[in-house]
Amino acid sequence: MAHIVKIQDGYSFYVREGETLLEVLEAQNIQTEYQCRQGYCGSCQLQLVEGQVEYNREPPLAFIPDGRVLPCCCEPRSDLVLALAVPVPPRSDGGAQRRTLDEKSRAQQDTLHSTPAEMAETTR
Protein backbone atom coordinates (compact mmCIF):
# COMPACT_ATOMS: atom_id res chain seq x y z
CA MET A 1 0.00 0.00 0.00
CA ALA A 2 1.26 3.46 -0.82
CA HIS A 3 2.62 5.47 2.11
CA ILE A 4 1.31 8.88 3.08
CA VAL A 5 3.55 11.87 3.74
CA LYS A 6 2.11 14.56 5.93
CA ILE A 7 3.60 18.01 6.26
CA GLN A 8 3.18 19.13 9.85
CA ASP A 9 0.43 21.78 10.05
CA GLY A 10 -0.11 21.24 6.37
CA TYR A 11 -1.53 18.80 3.92
CA SER A 12 -0.80 15.14 3.10
CA PHE A 13 -0.15 13.24 -0.08
CA TYR A 14 0.61 9.76 -1.34
CA VAL A 15 4.05 8.51 -2.26
CA ARG A 16 4.71 6.68 -5.50
CA GLU A 17 6.83 3.56 -5.16
CA GLY A 18 10.45 4.04 -6.18
CA GLU A 19 10.58 7.82 -5.75
CA THR A 20 12.96 9.39 -3.29
CA LEU A 21 11.42 11.56 -0.62
CA LEU A 22 12.95 14.59 -2.34
CA GLU A 23 11.25 13.72 -5.62
CA VAL A 24 7.98 13.24 -3.79
CA LEU A 25 8.23 16.72 -2.25
CA GLU A 26 9.26 18.29 -5.54
CA ALA A 27 6.30 16.73 -7.27
CA GLN A 28 4.16 18.58 -4.71
CA ASN A 29 5.89 21.87 -5.58
CA ILE A 30 7.24 22.14 -2.06
CA GLN A 31 10.40 24.21 -2.18
CA THR A 32 13.11 21.89 -0.96
CA GLU A 33 16.82 22.43 -0.86
CA TYR A 34 19.37 20.23 -2.51
CA GLN A 35 22.84 20.25 -3.97
CA CYS A 36 24.28 16.80 -4.66
CA ARG A 37 21.15 14.60 -4.60
CA GLN A 38 23.52 11.79 -3.66
CA GLY A 39 23.69 12.02 0.09
CA TYR A 40 27.06 13.71 0.54
CA CYS A 41 26.32 17.43 0.97
CA GLY A 42 23.61 17.40 3.63
CA SER A 43 21.78 20.41 2.25
CA CYS A 44 18.45 18.64 1.71
CA GLN A 45 18.05 17.60 5.35
CA LEU A 46 14.61 17.84 6.90
CA GLN A 47 13.13 17.10 10.28
CA LEU A 48 11.31 13.80 10.50
CA VAL A 49 8.66 13.98 13.20
CA GLU A 50 7.25 10.51 12.77
CA GLY A 51 7.85 7.44 10.66
CA GLN A 52 10.66 5.46 9.09
CA VAL A 53 12.75 5.97 5.99
CA GLU A 54 15.29 3.74 4.30
CA TYR A 55 18.43 4.90 2.53
CA ASN A 56 18.49 3.40 -0.92
CA ARG A 57 22.11 3.09 -1.96
CA GLU A 58 25.28 3.01 0.14
CA PRO A 59 24.85 4.82 3.48
CA PRO A 60 24.91 8.60 2.89
CA LEU A 61 28.21 10.38 3.58
CA ALA A 62 26.66 13.57 4.94
CA PHE A 63 26.34 13.95 8.67
CA ILE A 64 22.71 13.51 9.69
CA PRO A 65 21.77 15.19 12.99
CA ASP A 66 19.37 13.31 15.27
CA GLY A 67 15.79 13.48 14.14
CA ARG A 68 16.68 14.54 10.61
CA VAL A 69 16.68 12.73 7.28
CA LEU A 70 18.26 13.28 3.87
CA PRO A 71 15.30 13.20 1.47
CA CYS A 72 17.50 13.02 -1.65
CA CYS A 73 18.55 9.46 -0.96
CA CYS A 74 15.82 7.90 1.13
CA GLU A 75 12.40 6.44 0.55
CA PRO A 76 9.52 6.31 3.03
CA ARG A 77 9.10 2.92 4.70
CA SER A 78 5.99 3.96 6.62
CA ASP A 79 3.65 6.92 6.71
CA LEU A 80 5.70 10.02 7.56
CA VAL A 81 5.21 13.34 9.26
CA LEU A 82 7.72 16.00 8.24
CA ALA A 83 8.30 19.42 9.73
CA LEU A 84 9.47 22.06 7.26
CA ALA A 85 11.70 24.86 8.50
CA VAL A 86 9.47 27.39 6.80
CA PRO A 87 5.83 26.43 6.42
CA VAL A 88 5.05 27.27 2.83
CA PRO A 89 2.14 27.04 0.52
CA PRO A 90 2.96 25.29 -2.76
CA ARG A 91 5.28 27.47 -4.75
CA SER A 92 3.72 29.38 -7.62
CA ASP A 93 6.17 29.05 -10.46
CA GLY A 94 8.10 32.16 -11.25
CA GLY A 95 7.06 33.72 -7.95
CA ALA A 96 10.12 32.46 -6.18
CA GLN A 97 12.34 33.44 -9.07
CA ARG A 98 10.98 36.96 -9.15
CA ARG A 99 11.91 37.59 -5.56
CA THR A 100 15.54 37.40 -6.61
CA LEU A 101 15.29 40.41 -8.87
CA ASP A 102 16.13 43.89 -7.73
CA GLU A 103 13.72 46.77 -8.22
CA LYS A 104 15.12 48.07 -11.46
CA SER A 105 15.40 44.78 -13.25
CA ARG A 106 12.09 43.72 -11.80
CA ALA A 107 10.48 46.68 -13.51
CA GLN A 108 12.19 45.70 -16.76
CA GLN A 109 11.16 42.11 -16.38
CA ASP A 110 7.57 43.04 -15.72
CA THR A 111 7.27 44.94 -18.93
CA LEU A 112 8.86 42.06 -20.83
CA HIS A 113 6.65 39.24 -19.80
CA SER A 114 4.24 39.06 -16.95
CA THR A 115 0.91 37.60 -16.34
CA PRO A 116 -1.54 39.44 -14.09
CA ALA A 117 -0.98 36.84 -11.41
CA GLU A 118 2.77 37.45 -11.45
CA MET A 119 2.20 41.18 -11.26
CA ALA A 120 0.15 40.64 -8.15
CA GLU A 121 2.94 38.53 -6.71
CA THR A 122 5.61 41.18 -7.23
CA THR A 123 3.63 44.09 -5.92
CA ARG A 124 2.54 42.30 -2.81
Binding site: C36, Y40, C41, L61, D102
Partner: protein, 376 residues
Amino acid sequence: MTYTTFNRNLFDGTAEPMFFGQNVNVARYDVQKHAIFEHLIQKQLSFFWRPEEVDLSCDRSDFRNLPEHEQHIFLSNLKYQTLLDSVQGRSPNMALLPIASLAELETWIETWSFSETIHSRSYTHIMRNLVDEPTSVFDDIVNNEAIVSRAAAVTCHYDELITGIQLYQTLGEGRHQLPDKTVTVSLRDLKKKLYLTLVSVNVLEAIRFYVSFACSFAFAERATMEGNAKIIKLIARDEALHLTGTQHMLQLMASGRDDPEMAEIARELKEEARQIFVEAARQEKEWAAYLFRDGSMIGLNREILEQYVEYITCQRMIAVNFEPAFEVKQNPLPWMNSWLNSDHVQVAPQEVEVSSYLVGQVDSDVHHDDFREFTL
Protein backbone atom coordinates in the same frame (compact mmCIF):
# COMPACT_ATOMS: atom_id res chain seq x y z
CA MET B 1 55.44 15.46 21.64
CA THR B 2 58.16 16.10 19.07
CA TYR B 3 56.68 15.27 15.72
CA THR B 4 57.96 12.15 14.10
CA THR B 5 57.32 11.16 10.48
CA PHE B 6 57.26 7.49 11.36
CA ASN B 7 56.25 6.55 14.87
CA ARG B 8 58.31 3.47 15.94
CA ASN B 9 55.86 2.39 18.62
CA LEU B 10 53.64 -0.58 18.01
CA PHE B 11 50.12 0.37 19.06
CA ASP B 12 46.48 -0.08 18.14
CA GLY B 13 45.89 2.80 15.74
CA THR B 14 42.12 2.48 16.00
CA ALA B 15 42.25 3.34 19.71
CA GLU B 16 43.71 6.80 19.07
CA PRO B 17 41.66 10.00 18.97
CA MET B 18 41.45 11.99 15.71
CA PHE B 19 43.92 14.61 16.93
CA PHE B 20 46.65 14.92 19.56
CA GLY B 21 47.10 11.19 20.03
CA GLN B 22 50.20 9.34 18.81
CA ASN B 23 51.76 10.31 15.51
CA VAL B 24 50.71 7.95 12.75
CA ASN B 25 53.12 5.28 11.56
CA VAL B 26 51.93 2.82 8.93
CA ALA B 27 49.59 4.37 6.38
CA ARG B 28 47.14 1.50 6.34
CA TYR B 29 43.50 1.70 5.38
CA ASP B 30 42.26 -1.83 5.96
CA VAL B 31 41.16 -0.95 9.47
CA GLN B 32 39.64 2.36 10.40
CA LYS B 33 38.44 4.03 13.52
CA HIS B 34 36.23 6.45 11.61
CA ALA B 35 35.35 4.87 8.27
CA ILE B 36 33.68 8.10 7.16
CA PHE B 37 37.08 9.59 6.29
CA GLU B 38 37.91 6.63 4.08
CA HIS B 39 34.58 7.12 2.26
CA LEU B 40 35.29 10.82 1.84
CA ILE B 41 38.70 10.02 0.33
CA GLN B 42 37.13 7.60 -2.15
CA LYS B 43 34.49 10.11 -3.13
CA GLN B 44 36.96 12.96 -3.50
CA LEU B 45 39.21 10.82 -5.70
CA SER B 46 36.26 9.94 -7.90
CA PHE B 47 35.63 13.68 -8.38
CA PHE B 48 39.05 14.37 -9.87
CA TRP B 49 38.95 17.02 -12.57
CA ARG B 50 41.26 19.53 -14.23
CA PRO B 51 40.34 23.14 -14.98
CA GLU B 52 41.89 23.01 -18.46
CA GLU B 53 39.16 20.59 -19.47
CA VAL B 54 36.60 23.35 -19.23
CA ASP B 55 36.34 25.54 -22.29
CA LEU B 56 36.36 29.24 -21.40
CA SER B 57 36.58 30.72 -24.88
CA CYS B 58 33.22 32.53 -24.71
CA ASP B 59 33.91 34.07 -21.31
CA ARG B 60 36.55 36.43 -22.63
CA SER B 61 34.16 38.29 -24.89
CA ASP B 62 31.36 38.00 -22.33
CA PHE B 63 33.58 39.74 -19.83
CA ARG B 64 34.43 42.56 -22.23
CA ASN B 65 30.74 43.15 -22.76
CA LEU B 66 29.93 43.49 -19.09
CA PRO B 67 29.36 47.04 -17.81
CA GLU B 68 32.16 48.27 -15.61
CA HIS B 69 30.37 47.81 -12.29
CA GLU B 70 29.61 44.20 -13.18
CA GLN B 71 33.26 43.61 -14.10
CA HIS B 72 34.05 44.90 -10.62
CA ILE B 73 31.60 42.40 -9.10
CA PHE B 74 32.96 39.52 -11.14
CA LEU B 75 36.64 40.23 -10.56
CA SER B 76 36.25 41.02 -6.86
CA ASN B 77 34.36 37.79 -6.35
CA LEU B 78 37.06 35.88 -8.20
CA LYS B 79 39.75 37.51 -6.08
CA TYR B 80 37.93 36.53 -2.93
CA GLN B 81 37.64 32.94 -4.13
CA THR B 82 41.34 32.97 -4.96
CA LEU B 83 42.15 34.13 -1.45
CA LEU B 84 39.98 31.47 0.17
CA ASP B 85 41.47 28.63 -1.84
CA SER B 86 45.03 29.91 -1.37
CA VAL B 87 44.35 29.48 2.33
CA GLN B 88 42.64 26.12 1.98
CA GLY B 89 45.30 24.70 -0.32
CA ARG B 90 47.87 24.78 2.45
CA SER B 91 46.31 25.34 5.85
CA PRO B 92 44.66 21.97 6.54
CA ASN B 93 48.05 20.40 5.83
CA MET B 94 50.01 22.91 7.89
CA ALA B 95 47.64 22.97 10.86
CA LEU B 96 46.09 19.54 10.99
CA LEU B 97 48.62 17.04 9.65
CA PRO B 98 51.13 17.47 12.51
CA ILE B 99 48.43 16.57 15.04
CA ALA B 100 46.42 13.95 13.15
CA SER B 101 46.53 10.53 14.79
CA LEU B 102 44.56 8.33 12.43
CA ALA B 103 45.80 7.18 9.02
CA GLU B 104 42.43 7.63 7.33
CA LEU B 105 42.02 11.12 8.76
CA GLU B 106 45.56 12.10 7.78
CA THR B 107 44.94 10.99 4.20
CA TRP B 108 41.56 12.72 4.09
CA ILE B 109 43.27 15.98 5.10
CA GLU B 110 45.85 15.58 2.34
CA THR B 111 43.26 14.62 -0.26
CA TRP B 112 41.04 17.52 0.79
CA SER B 113 43.84 20.05 0.67
CA PHE B 114 45.09 18.72 -2.66
CA SER B 115 41.69 19.28 -4.23
CA GLU B 116 41.92 22.90 -3.07
CA THR B 117 45.08 23.35 -5.12
CA ILE B 118 43.03 22.38 -8.16
CA HIS B 119 40.63 25.16 -7.28
CA SER B 120 43.50 27.62 -7.06
CA ARG B 121 44.78 26.43 -10.42
CA SER B 122 41.39 27.05 -11.96
CA TYR B 123 41.40 30.67 -10.87
CA THR B 124 44.67 31.15 -12.74
CA HIS B 125 43.11 29.44 -15.74
CA ILE B 126 40.10 31.77 -15.55
CA MET B 127 42.15 34.90 -14.91
CA ARG B 128 44.58 34.27 -17.77
CA ASN B 129 41.64 33.96 -20.08
CA LEU B 130 39.91 37.13 -18.90
CA VAL B 131 42.64 39.70 -18.61
CA ASP B 132 45.90 40.30 -20.44
CA GLU B 133 47.74 41.16 -17.25
CA PRO B 134 46.78 38.75 -14.42
CA THR B 135 49.51 40.11 -12.16
CA SER B 136 47.65 43.30 -11.37
CA VAL B 137 44.57 41.29 -10.39
CA PHE B 138 46.52 38.84 -8.23
CA ASP B 139 48.50 41.66 -6.59
CA ASP B 140 45.28 43.35 -5.63
CA ILE B 141 44.41 40.37 -3.42
CA VAL B 142 47.27 41.41 -1.17
CA ASN B 143 46.78 45.17 -1.55
CA ASN B 144 43.05 45.71 -1.60
CA GLU B 145 41.77 46.64 1.84
CA ALA B 146 38.36 45.01 1.48
CA ILE B 147 40.05 41.71 0.64
CA VAL B 148 42.87 41.98 3.16
CA SER B 149 40.38 42.38 6.00
CA ARG B 150 38.69 39.16 4.79
CA ALA B 151 42.05 37.40 4.88
CA ALA B 152 42.65 38.32 8.52
CA ALA B 153 39.32 36.84 9.61
CA VAL B 154 39.78 33.71 7.56
CA THR B 155 43.28 32.90 8.78
CA CYS B 156 43.48 34.02 12.42
CA HIS B 157 42.33 30.71 13.91
CA TYR B 158 44.56 28.64 11.65
CA ASP B 159 47.57 30.81 12.45
CA GLU B 160 47.05 30.66 16.20
CA LEU B 161 46.69 26.92 16.10
CA ILE B 162 49.81 26.48 13.96
CA THR B 163 51.91 28.66 16.28
CA GLY B 164 50.57 26.81 19.32
CA ILE B 165 51.41 23.41 17.83
CA GLN B 166 54.91 24.51 16.93
CA LEU B 167 55.56 25.55 20.52
CA TYR B 168 54.00 22.36 21.84
CA GLN B 169 56.08 20.17 19.57
CA THR B 170 59.35 21.93 20.30
CA LEU B 171 58.97 22.93 23.97
CA GLY B 172 56.18 20.78 25.37
CA GLU B 173 53.56 21.78 27.92
CA GLY B 174 54.37 24.35 30.61
CA ARG B 175 55.64 27.92 30.94
CA HIS B 176 58.48 28.87 28.66
CA GLN B 177 60.64 31.95 28.36
CA LEU B 178 61.05 33.01 24.73
CA PRO B 179 63.42 35.81 23.65
CA ASP B 180 60.58 38.32 23.49
CA LYS B 181 57.88 36.91 25.79
CA THR B 182 56.75 34.19 28.15
CA VAL B 183 54.33 31.59 26.82
CA THR B 184 52.24 28.94 28.50
CA VAL B 185 51.62 25.84 26.44
CA SER B 186 48.81 23.52 27.42
CA LEU B 187 47.25 20.67 25.55
CA ARG B 188 43.76 21.67 26.58
CA ASP B 189 44.30 25.14 25.25
CA LEU B 190 45.52 23.66 21.95
CA LYS B 191 42.43 21.50 21.74
CA LYS B 192 40.33 24.62 22.17
CA LYS B 193 42.22 26.30 19.35
CA LEU B 194 41.67 23.23 17.21
CA TYR B 195 37.95 23.24 17.85
CA LEU B 196 37.59 26.91 16.97
CA THR B 197 39.75 26.45 13.88
CA LEU B 198 37.50 23.67 12.62
CA VAL B 199 34.45 25.84 13.18
CA SER B 200 36.04 28.66 11.24
CA VAL B 201 37.02 26.27 8.43
CA ASN B 202 33.43 25.08 8.25
CA VAL B 203 32.30 28.70 8.09
CA LEU B 204 34.81 29.34 5.31
CA GLU B 205 33.76 26.42 3.16
CA ALA B 206 30.07 26.18 3.96
CA ILE B 207 29.17 29.88 4.14
CA ARG B 208 31.81 32.19 2.64
CA PHE B 209 32.30 30.01 -0.41
CA TYR B 210 28.59 29.62 -1.01
CA VAL B 211 28.11 33.38 -0.95
CA SER B 212 30.76 33.64 -3.63
CA PHE B 213 29.13 30.83 -5.61
CA ALA B 214 25.90 32.83 -5.59
CA CYS B 215 27.70 35.68 -7.36
CA SER B 216 29.32 33.36 -9.90
CA PHE B 217 26.02 31.70 -10.73
CA ALA B 218 24.11 34.98 -10.88
CA PHE B 219 26.09 35.76 -14.04
CA ALA B 220 25.45 32.36 -15.55
CA GLU B 221 21.76 32.66 -14.68
CA ARG B 222 21.76 35.45 -17.29
CA ALA B 223 23.65 33.28 -19.77
CA THR B 224 26.96 35.09 -19.42
CA MET B 225 30.31 33.86 -18.04
CA GLU B 226 29.09 30.28 -18.37
CA GLY B 227 32.50 28.64 -18.66
CA ASN B 228 33.34 30.14 -15.31
CA ALA B 229 30.10 28.74 -13.86
CA LYS B 230 31.04 25.26 -15.06
CA ILE B 231 34.30 25.45 -13.16
CA ILE B 232 32.53 26.81 -10.10
CA LYS B 233 30.08 23.89 -10.26
CA LEU B 234 33.01 21.48 -10.02
CA ILE B 235 34.51 23.49 -7.17
CA ALA B 236 31.14 23.52 -5.40
CA ARG B 237 30.90 19.76 -5.67
CA ASP B 238 34.27 19.44 -3.90
CA GLU B 239 33.31 22.00 -1.28
CA ALA B 240 30.11 20.10 -0.46
CA LEU B 241 32.29 17.14 0.41
CA HIS B 242 34.77 19.22 2.40
CA LEU B 243 32.08 20.81 4.53
CA THR B 244 30.65 17.37 5.21
CA GLY B 245 34.10 16.22 6.37
CA THR B 246 34.40 19.13 8.77
CA GLN B 247 30.84 18.71 10.05
CA HIS B 248 31.70 15.09 10.86
CA MET B 249 34.84 16.14 12.74
CA LEU B 250 32.88 18.71 14.75
CA GLN B 251 30.13 16.23 15.54
CA LEU B 252 32.55 13.48 16.49
CA MET B 253 34.18 15.93 18.87
CA ALA B 254 30.93 17.17 20.36
CA SER B 255 29.65 13.63 20.90
CA GLY B 256 32.64 12.66 23.03
CA ARG B 257 32.89 9.39 21.10
CA ASP B 258 36.34 10.33 19.87
CA ASP B 259 37.93 12.23 22.74
CA PRO B 260 35.88 12.95 25.90
CA GLU B 261 37.86 16.12 26.62
CA MET B 262 36.85 17.46 23.22
CA ALA B 263 33.18 17.07 24.15
CA GLU B 264 33.77 19.21 27.22
CA ILE B 265 35.53 21.79 25.11
CA ALA B 266 32.75 21.83 22.54
CA ARG B 267 30.28 22.57 25.34
CA GLU B 268 32.50 25.17 26.93
CA LEU B 269 33.11 26.98 23.64
CA LYS B 270 29.62 26.74 22.24
CA GLU B 271 28.95 30.45 22.46
CA GLU B 272 32.37 31.44 21.14
CA ALA B 273 31.95 29.02 18.25
CA ARG B 274 28.51 30.38 17.53
CA GLN B 275 29.97 33.88 17.40
CA ILE B 276 32.29 32.78 14.57
CA PHE B 277 29.19 32.12 12.47
CA VAL B 278 27.57 35.39 13.48
CA GLU B 279 30.70 37.40 12.81
CA ALA B 280 31.27 35.73 9.43
CA ALA B 281 27.73 36.58 8.39
CA ARG B 282 28.36 40.21 9.31
CA GLN B 283 31.58 40.24 7.30
CA GLU B 284 29.93 38.66 4.30
CA LYS B 285 27.25 41.33 4.34
CA GLU B 286 29.97 43.96 4.48
CA TRP B 287 31.53 42.29 1.48
CA ALA B 288 28.18 42.40 -0.34
CA ALA B 289 28.18 46.16 0.16
CA TYR B 290 31.64 46.36 -1.39
CA LEU B 291 30.68 44.17 -4.35
CA PHE B 292 27.64 46.24 -5.23
CA ARG B 293 29.08 49.64 -4.33
CA ASP B 294 28.84 50.87 -7.95
CA GLY B 295 25.48 49.29 -8.69
CA SER B 296 23.55 46.03 -8.75
CA MET B 297 23.47 43.47 -11.48
CA ILE B 298 20.40 41.97 -13.07
CA GLY B 299 19.26 39.17 -10.79
CA LEU B 300 21.40 40.06 -7.78
CA ASN B 301 21.83 43.05 -5.56
CA ARG B 302 23.11 43.82 -2.12
CA GLU B 303 19.87 43.11 -0.24
CA ILE B 304 19.28 39.77 -1.87
CA LEU B 305 22.85 38.65 -1.31
CA GLU B 306 22.51 39.69 2.33
CA GLN B 307 19.36 37.61 2.61
CA TYR B 308 21.24 34.70 1.14
CA VAL B 309 24.03 35.20 3.71
CA GLU B 310 21.45 34.91 6.49
CA TYR B 311 19.75 31.96 4.87
CA ILE B 312 22.92 29.92 4.31
CA THR B 313 24.29 30.82 7.76
CA CYS B 314 21.13 29.44 9.39
CA GLN B 315 21.32 26.25 7.31
CA ARG B 316 24.91 25.61 8.32
CA MET B 317 24.34 26.41 11.98
CA ILE B 318 21.42 24.00 12.18
CA ALA B 319 23.56 21.30 10.54
CA VAL B 320 26.04 21.40 13.43
CA ASN B 321 23.36 21.71 16.12
CA PHE B 322 23.74 25.43 16.79
CA GLU B 323 20.82 27.71 17.42
CA PRO B 324 20.41 29.66 14.14
CA ALA B 325 21.50 33.29 14.31
CA PHE B 326 18.70 34.65 12.14
CA GLU B 327 15.07 33.94 11.50
CA VAL B 328 14.90 30.84 9.33
CA LYS B 329 13.44 31.79 5.96
CA GLN B 330 13.04 30.37 2.50
CA ASN B 331 16.07 30.38 0.20
CA PRO B 332 16.00 33.81 -1.48
CA LEU B 333 17.95 32.42 -4.47
CA PRO B 334 16.00 29.30 -5.45
CA TRP B 335 17.94 29.00 -8.70
CA MET B 336 21.09 28.22 -6.70
CA ASN B 337 20.15 24.57 -6.21
CA SER B 338 20.20 23.59 -9.84
CA TRP B 339 23.47 25.48 -10.40
CA LEU B 340 25.07 23.85 -7.40
CA ASN B 341 24.03 20.43 -8.59
CA SER B 342 26.76 18.94 -10.71
CA ASP B 343 24.99 15.92 -12.17
CA HIS B 344 25.15 17.31 -15.64
CA VAL B 345 28.56 18.92 -15.70
CA GLN B 346 30.38 17.49 -18.62
CA VAL B 347 34.11 17.92 -18.54
CA ALA B 348 35.84 15.88 -21.21
CA PRO B 349 33.54 13.50 -23.11
CA GLN B 350 35.31 10.46 -21.72
CA GLU B 351 34.64 11.69 -18.21
CA VAL B 352 30.90 11.97 -18.32
CA GLU B 353 30.56 9.92 -15.20
CA VAL B 354 32.79 12.16 -13.16
CA SER B 355 30.61 12.03 -10.10
CA SER B 356 30.32 8.31 -9.78
CA TYR B 357 32.25 6.11 -7.46
CA LEU B 358 35.28 4.62 -9.15
CA VAL B 359 35.92 1.99 -6.53
CA GLY B 360 35.15 -1.62 -7.15
CA GLN B 361 35.05 -1.26 -10.89
CA VAL B 362 37.48 -4.09 -11.42
CA ASP B 363 36.04 -7.45 -10.51
CA SER B 364 38.94 -9.45 -9.23
CA ASP B 365 37.03 -12.62 -8.37
CA VAL B 366 37.94 -15.41 -10.77
CA HIS B 367 35.76 -18.50 -11.00
CA HIS B 368 36.39 -21.86 -12.65
CA ASP B 369 33.72 -21.02 -15.17
CA ASP B 370 35.77 -18.09 -16.42
CA PHE B 371 38.26 -20.52 -17.91
CA ARG B 372 35.67 -22.69 -19.64
CA GLU B 373 36.58 -21.51 -23.12
CA PHE B 374 40.32 -21.79 -22.66
CA THR B 375 42.16 -24.70 -24.28
CA LEU B 376 45.84 -25.39 -24.02
